[in-house]
Amino acid sequence: MPISFQSIRFGTVEIRPEDVIEFPFGLIGLGGLRYALIDRNPGTGFLWLHEIDNPALALPVVSPVRFFPDFVLEIAPEDQERTGLHDLTGAQLYVTVRATPDPLDITVNLRAPLVIRDGRGYQVINTREDAPLQAPLFTLAAQSQIAS
């Protein structure tokens, strides 16, 4: 039995019950407790993390692993305790996308990734010192391709 919710961006959205992701602590500064990942830009790697109970709350996200091969997430012990993410086995990682008119200006937040596992999601602080809040999505990907 699909679940449907309203979105000011996409109208009525249908998802499967198992696609609901509980965020016990919400997103930092935004809240929201129940989200779903929806694919409205097939083939691009961009997904939308949409709050189910708030038609206006949705953020574009991408997998950091796809664009940043060297991406590493380190979580402070206190946050590991809070989230249960002592290891990241089986977890999906996403980062929020700051969309811009020119795609080459798009940045993503590697400092506060989203970790999703077993129907639960957490936004955690990446304690890696080299994890920027605004990492250029495409230019950095190009640089790391050249470097490799």
Partner: protein, 111 residues
């Protein structure tokens, strides 16, 4: 705002479960120890503010704000032209296997 004066070693209790200890004071630097239930997130304010701002900026995106055919890494390098969407197809649930995480024992005690 409640303003309290504390000496090193003294604490403030917030509710019944959050203890803030003044560990040391050195010049303009105060070291705080915070004991709170595991379910209470604790952030440095500047990190919290910065992440909140990034989240809000991301959430401001309109439905058509994302490129339908983003430049590939090569196109991004060679010029500002749109490249055909020739990348591997995106999956609804990308298998983004997480890279190795630093063991808790090596992680800094201070955030």
């Amino acid at each position: 705002m409640l303003i309290l004066t504390r000496r090193p070693g003294e604490r403030v209790v917030i509710g019944d479960e959050i203890f803030v200890t003044v560990m040391s004071v050195s010049g303009h630097t105060v070291r705080l120890g915070i004991a709170a239930p595991a379910g209470v997130p604790i952030y440095r304010e500047e990190i919290w503010l910065a992440v909140k701002e990034e989240n809000r900026a991301a959430a401001a995106a309109t439905a058509d704000a994302l490129p339908s055919t983003p430049p590939t890494a090569d196109a991004a390098h060679s010029g500002r032209s749109q490249a055909p969407a020739s990348e591997a197809p995106a999956s609804e649930t990308p298998a983004s296997e997480a890279p190795a995480e630093r063991p808790a024992s090596e992680a800094p005690a201070e955030r």
